[in-house]
Structures are given as structure tokens and as C-alpha cells.
Symmetry: C2
Subunit: 507 residues, 2 copies
């Protein structure tokens, strides 16, 4: 509900100070928020292998030192659908070290746990298990990287839940209708409802919203006022209709959205232009691509909730390896550097070398002094070219910096200048507008194919399913290292195997 949310302030947590209206420690819920930790990313790399774990450990340490009531994660705790034993072991080690211990938990769990955890394997919230001494409960939804897969359709979070280290929620097995029963918790006078929605393909989710198939099971009105927090893991930036979740589509009664999946840090809560809710996008804690967005300072945050008010304290992560990104347009230097006269390759390389040196200097400013921070920097210089003669062997060039950067082999990335009209990000549209646009616009090849087969007769419809299956298999194998995907998915559709072959030939 929350008729009014307090403005955001990067102030110290309100928990410790006493205010006139009863805003004492026992009435304020302190929540560590973080997302997209991607544990295990690049784990076999001798230089960068431990980066994801370092950042996660820092987050856990902040949770302990700030004495939070619980930790809320927005998905993609692991990078791979089936994390290596090494990743699982390191994660469990960290959780056991920082979230178990002797501490009284002052959270009353009010909702029906059998409903909250219906598709998961938690028998109860971990801190109510008499056999475990939990000091900081961790709650998490899954993301697209750690969603259920393989034999038994388990998420790696199911493993953590099974051994009592994480309270996994927001998992669905029925994707034809989403009844979201919130986790209801009380601390003193503050009542919090957490609506968890683990990753679902954006297009499916948007359709469910449009078809009024998403039902938020708000608590009974007689139970008083609730701070309504939603945690989800979807595309937020407009990547084409049906390929993101427009904020407008979310129910306006919400107070706060913890948005996972997007890696850029936009942790400062942004109030929606129309609705009352604020959206908070902490971003990943470790970069999984050398893009500009990933080079923004990484953060976790402490969300303090008191009745219908909140404050967010941003905590910059100091163990994240320095990463500097820059994009230059080679063509714009052509005249000054005389690219077109004589030894072009060496001239371009001289320019690039100079630029890289600057970036390495900039990276030094990102060294925080934290004893655990790896200081060998990630550097990415994107060289936009028009003339192919301006290119050179980037891998060989990178070797010049082998001891000075963490990523010599992909330090330089060439990109052909494509003259086009950029699509704006973050177009804000309302539900009706989306429906209209959905009805009239084709935004991708998939849409065209889908529409075609929707209009086709019944026997043809099977073919599009097969194509989707193949897409899904490829995506899972390539992006999420889920080697059992083909086996499990194809088993499910074995009866349409011949249709798959037919459709492949047909396409």
C-alpha cells in the first residue's frame, strides 16, 4: 500500500537512531540488497577466477557489519545453470561463514511457508529450523542464469535451500497463471510483503500481465498496512517489444521494486513517472562483459524500511577489480595522426597504445586500497572504424600489456561504424499503448515467424514449437553451460521430433 514513500537519501541507516515517531531499531527492517553475483564467472581464469567470489564475500561482510535483518538477492547468484563443484563449494563456504551464527532474528514470518515455498524445496524458512543457527537469513529468487534445469528441473538455489543456506522463493512450475503470494514479515511496527518473481522469459511474462494472468495476492486489509516490495529478474531496458518488462505494467500498489538482471548499477531508487513505486537496480557485483555499463562503480545497498517509508544506503564495492571502458572513433583521429600517409598500422597502434596507457592510469584511480581488491585492471578500448585498413591484430597487440592488464587478449575490440538511427532506451509507455503496439508492430524475426505460424493451420503450429525448442536448447547450452538441456528438453518433446526435422528442412 504505502501512500507515500520517503525520498531517497544516501545516508547512514536509520536503524540506529531514534526518532520521535518510534523509528527505533526494533521497528526498522534492515535489508541488504544485491543481485547478479554471477558466482563462478570466468572461474578457470588464473587471474580473474576469484573475482565474483570476492565481491560476494564483501557483500556478506557488509551485511554482517551492518547487522542487517536479512539479505535479499535478485537472481543470478551463479553464472552457470549447473555450477561447478568449485563454485558451489565456495558459495556454501561463504554463506556458512557469514550467515550462520548466534544472533536472535527479530523477524516474525507471518505468511504460509508451504505456499511461499510451494515449488521450492525449503521445508521452512531456514532461521526457524531448530537444527541450524542462522544469524542472517538469505532470501533469493532465481535469475535466467540459475533457473531450474537439467534432470529433476532443479536450480542451484534448490541445493542451497536443501542444505539450509538460502530461502529460495518465487519459483514457478505452472507458467500459465502466476499467483504471487508474498512473503509476509513483521519487525516491530513495520510490516513487509515481498512479492518474488523469479525469471520468466520476458515475452511470456508480458503476455501473462496483458492477459490478467498475474495476480498479486495482497494480504488481508484487516492485517494493517504493508510495505510492498517486489523482487524480479527481467530485462528493464527496452530491447524490443516482448523483450523487456515495461515498468508501467507493474501494479501501482507496489512501493519498491528490486530489479535484477540488468548489470548497470542504477541502485539509486528512481520513482516511476506515473506510479508511486521506486525502482532500484543494484546491478551486478562482478562484470560479465567488458561493456560500458559494467564499468560503472558497483554497489550493494542497505534498504531500511520503517512502516511505509524507506531509505537506501548505497555501499560501493571496494573489492571489485578496476575496470575502465572507453570507445574511440578511429576515423576522427585520421587526419591528426596522418593515418592515410605511410605506415597506417603502426600509426593506429601508436594512437591506441597512447589511449590504453591513459586508461591504465585512470584505472589506478579505481584502486580502493581494500586489501582483497585485485588491482590488475580490466581495460577495454573499443575502436570504432570506418576504414578496415585501420585495424590490426588486437590479440598480438594485447600481449604488450600482458603483465599490466587482466584481460590482454580482449583489451581492444574493433567495431565497424554502423550508421543508423539509435533506438531510445527506456521508452515509457502505458499498458494500453503496449497492447496496441503489440497488435500492430513486428519487432524481430521471431515475431514475424510467430505471427506467421499463429495464422497458419494446426499442423504447421507444431513447427514453430520445434523452432522454439531449438532456440531454447541452444541458449541454455551456450549461455548457461547447461549440457543436459538438449536431453531434458528434447525428451519432453520427443513426440514432435519428426516435426523438428521437418521444420528445419522447411526453414
Amino acid at each position: 500500500m504505502a501512500s507515500e514513500s520517503e525520498g531517497i537519501a544516501s545516508v547512514s541507516a536509520v536503524g540506529g537512531s531514534e526518532a520521535g515517531d518510534g523509528m527505533t531499531e526494533e521497528n526498522v527492517m534492515k535489508i541488504m540488497i544485491a543481485t547478479d553475483n554471477h558466482l563462478g564467472y570466468f572461474e578457470k581464469d588464473p587471474v580473474r577466477g576469484n573475482d565474483s567470489f570476492l565481491a560476494f564475500e564483501e557483500i556478506l561482510k557488509h551485511a554482517v557489519s551492518n547487522d542487517v535483518d536479512f539479505i535479499l538477492l535478485g537472481g543470478d547468484l551463479f553464472h552457470d545453470a549447473t555450477p561447478s563443484q568449485n563454485s558451489l563449494k565456495k558459495c556454501m563456504d561463504l554463506l556458512r561463514k557469514y550467515t550462520l551464527g548466534s544472533k536472535t532474528i527479530s523477524l516474525e514470518f507471518l505468511s504460509d511457508q508451504t505456499i511461499n515455498f510451494v515449488d521450492c524445496f525449503n521445508s521452512s524458512v531456514n532461521y526457524e529450523d531448530p537444527n541450524l543457527n542462522v544469524s542472517i537469513p538469505v532470501f533469493s529468487i532465481h535469475g535466467n542464469h540459475d533457473d531450474p534445469s537439467g534432470y529433476g528441473l532443479l536450480s542451484s538455489l534448490d541445493l542451497l535451500a536443501t542444505c539450509g543456506l538460502v530461502n529460495y522463493f518465487g519459483k514457478r512450475t505452472d507458467l500459465t497463471k502466476l499467483d504471487i503470494y508474498p512473503i509476509l514479515m513483521r519487525k516491530g511496527v513495520t510490516q513487509l510483503a515481498i512479492y518474488g518473481l523469479s525469471y520468466i522469459h520476458d515475452s511470456r511474462l508480458v503476455r501473462l500481465f496483458m492477459d490478467d494472468k498475474v495476480v498479486m495476492k495482497t494480504p488481508d486489509e484487516t492485517t494493517g498496512n504493508w510495505f510492498n516490495l517486489m523482487v524480479l529478474h527481467q530485462n528493464r531496458a527496452n530491447r524490443g517489444l516482448k523483450n523487456y518488462l515495461p515498468e508501467d505494467i507493474l501494479p501501482p500498489f507496489l512501493d519498491f521494486i528490486l530489479w535484477g538482471h540488468e548489470h548497470d548499477c542504477r541502485i539509486e531508487p528512481e520513482q516511476h513517472f506515473k506510479h508511486q513505486f521506486h525502482v532500484c537496480q543494484p546491478g551486478s557485483s562482478t562484470p560479465t562483459s567488458l561493456s560500458e555499463g559494467e564499468s560503472i562503480q558497483k554497489h550493494c545497498g542497505i534498504l531500511c524500511v520503517y512502516k511505509d517509508k524507506f531509505k537506501l544506503e548505497k555501499i560501493p564495492l571496494k573489492t571489485v577489480r578496476p575496470f575502465v571502458f572507453k570507445s574511440i572513433d578511429l576515423h576522427s583521429y585520421a587526419e591528426d595522426y596522418g593515418f592515410d600517409e605511410g605506415d597506417t598500422e603502426n600509426k593506429v597502434m601508436a594512437l591506441v597504445r597512447e589511449q590504453v596507457e591513459k586508461l591504465i592510469s585512470e584505472a589506478e584511480e579505481k584502486v580502493t586500497g581494500h586489501p582483497d581488491q585485485p588491482t590488475l585492471p580490466l581495460i577495454r578500448l573499443r575502436c570504432v572504424y570506418e576504414n578496415e585498413e585501420h585495424m590490426f591484430n588486437a590479440i598480438r597487440f594485447g600481449q604488450e600489456f600482458a603483465t599490466r592488464v587482466a584481460n590482454p587478449s580482449d583489451l581492444i575490440k574493433f567495431k565497424k561504424l554502423v550508421k543508423r538511427v539509435d533506438s531510445k532506451s527506456d521508452i515509457k509507455v502505458d499498458g494500453k499503448a503496449i497492447k496496441d503496439m503489440m497488435a500492430n508492430t513486428r519487432t524481430s524475426v521471431e515475431d514475424v515467424v510467430e505471427e506467421y505460424f499463429e495464422k497458419a493451420d494446426e499442423s504447421d503450429k507444431l513447427k514453430i514449437m520445434s523452432t522454439k525448442v531449438l532456440n531454447e536448447v541452444t541458449n541454455r547450452i551456450v549461455n548457461r553451460n547447461d549440457t543436459t538441456a538438449a536431453d531434458s528438453i528434447l525428451k519432453w518433446v520427443f513426440f514432435s521430433f519428426f516435426q523438428i526435422c521437418t521444420s528445419l528442412i522447411y526453414i
Copy 2:
């Protein structure tokens, strides 16, 4: 030490009864022993997928109902080196359900845990962790199926140890010398030393023993008398020199050997013909092959130790799927059934059908009435043939029994009669004899190759290493589902990659 071990008796545990000499509950250590649970074996099979978990759960239930002090496992808890998330989850679920709880542990842990668990990741024995309520500690070595592998060289037992569900010991990283520091535990007047030796390739282990590189670090004499129990996971049956561990080689001061790896149940302790120790081979709790040995009634056992005496209570497992094995010599039926006149195939099939019917009847006798036992039986009829005309399509034949047996596709196995002199199993030889035989005998192609390269010059020696590596990679991929084996092993020897190629061409 233990100068005298009490004879074995399949009696109820001594723990509850009071004897004149102080053999009271507080002085008797009760240990549930089991091995080779092979969790996850055949897990994707819709009929047999849960078998391994059912038997393991039964063992855990017996541990609880018999109020044992701890559980000791002899390796191969999991079937795969990297178990599926499904297997891990089910195992953790069971361990959490049956081994956590409120119960006072009356075991004093006396040895240095940092030494006992030196290569493992247990920070301490789990029941001393104040954050876990452990009712029955589980101790385990690894076997050849769940030995360390993949990135980070972790065993699945490391995962269980990390989340505090298992005390993993007996892992070695230095295989040039084995210093075995026993786990020392005391309960009342009984003192137990457990010497853990996780799986090592037999030939390497035998060589270490022969070279006096295995040192059992017995406790200080001033600490009193100890019951010396060794747990290991090696070939026991003679499978060729260097391919098993001869019992004679084990130090005679031991009292009791818990022998893992061998799947036949020989749980009744057998005293060594020369030494004082008894060897107890519980066998697997689930069959992983349809061999005669696996059809023997499966057991776990409760070992009661009082000072230097022990008793073993055998517990037949009642949830194991009925399995009947028989071998028939088709040729011996040829005359009676007139195989050589007319329709041979149908005549042989009629005989085989008759035999299978008998086996199905026999299997009914193995139905225990336990509510969790799957009753659809495993049946294996091995048909030894001399004449190939006596063969038929075994898979098609099996389909006749599709609803009556759990393994229709491999119900019948044809085996060509090979006339040869069988090698005896369990040849008992002493250490010197082994050394002599090792020096004079070549027992396998590997031995021949090894000897050749041992005599060859230095540059050739690299080649044999490459062959070994390839052998190891193949073994790990095929037998233990360790898909990262090639990656990790070949990375280790990447510098000899060209030698591998050369040696392959050469061979």
C-alpha cells in the same frame, strides 16, 4: 593394538545390555557401517531412478532407530564424480533429515582436526560446530567414483563437508608418501582410532606399501589401548597383480578393516589367516551391475566396539529391489530341447522363457514387505552359448516382460563359452612374495608397456606418461561421468601435448 578380538556374532547390539565388566551403553561405541551407496546410479531411469536413494535412506533410518554414535562410509557415496543437482539435492535432503537433530553426542574427538582433515575442507568435525545441531555425525572417505575431479579438484564429499553434513577424511593431495593420521575418538572407556585411506589406484598404493611409504601414525603408547579400525576403498579380489590390494600388505596391528569398493556383500567379518585383524566388506547398497555378486542380499551393519572387542550386527536391507541372477549353459539343454532339429530359435526362446518365469517366481521371495521397497524385480539370465545359432534378439525378447521386470532391455545376456583355466580369486600371498612376483611377472599390456618405457631412454619416458594420461581421461569420462577430466588433466600436461600426439602415432 587390541590383542584379541571377540568373535563375530549376528546378535543385537551390545550397547543396551549391561555386562559385568563395565560394558554399558556409555562405554560401547555403536557405529553404522555401510559403503558404495552409488547415489544417483541410473537416476534418469523412470523405473529404477530412485533405488539408490531408497537404500541409503533405509541405512540412515537404521542409524537413527539404533541410536548409533556415528556413521562410517567406505566411499562411492555418489556414482558420478560430479553428481547431478538432483542427486546432490536428494542426498543433502536425506542427511539433513536423519543426521541433524537434538541429541547429545557422547564422542570425544581427541586427535588434531587440522591434521585429520588437512586436505579436505571441513573446518572442524561437524558436531562441534555450534551453528549445526548434529545428531549423528557421518564420516566418509572417498571411493573411485567420487574422488576429487574437475576444476578445483574437489570431491562431491567436499560439498557435503562444506555444508556440514559429512566429515570427509582420508583425502590426499601428496601421493608420494602417505602419512595416515587416525581420527581418535573416545566414548567412556573405549578408544577408537580410525585410519582413513581414500581410494588410490591399486598399483600406486601397492608400490607405496612396498616402498615403505605408508606410515600409520599410531597414537602415543601412553594414551592407553586403542581399537584400530581402518577404512579403505580398493580392489580386494585378485584382479591381477598391481590391480588389487593384498590383505597381507596391511599392518598387523590393525583390528578391523572396513573394506569399500567391492560390491559383493561379505559383511560377516573374516579373520585374516595370519594376522589378527578382521576384514568386513559390507558391499554396495544398490546394484550397479547385473552380476551374480550384486544379487547377494544387501546389508549394512552396526559395529559395536568395547575396548578391544567388537561385535557386528548385520542388518539386511529391505528396500533393495529384488534381483535374481542365473547363468545357464544353453548347450547342456540342446539335446533335451532338440535345439538342433527344426526351429532352433523358438526352441531356445521357449527354454529361456521358462527359465525367466522361474526367476520371476524366485524374485517374489525377495519381496520383503517393506512399504518402500520397489517390487518390480531385476532379472538377469546369462545364457552361455557355444553355438551362435542358439542366440536370438534379446532386446525384442525382453519386451515380452516389459511390465514384469525392471530391466526388460538387458534381461538376457549372451556370453560365448570361453574354455580357459579360471584364475583363483583371493590368492593370499605375503609382501615378499608380491615383490618377487612383481619383479618377474608381467600381468597386463600396461605392465609390458611400462616395463618397456622404464628401460627406454629419457625422451621416450614422456610418451608413456601421455598414454597414461589418455587412459585416465578415458576412464574418468566413461566410468565416472567427469566431463571436465580431459580439460583438467590435459591442462596439467599441456606441455607434453606434442609428445601425446607422437606417442599415439608411434603406438
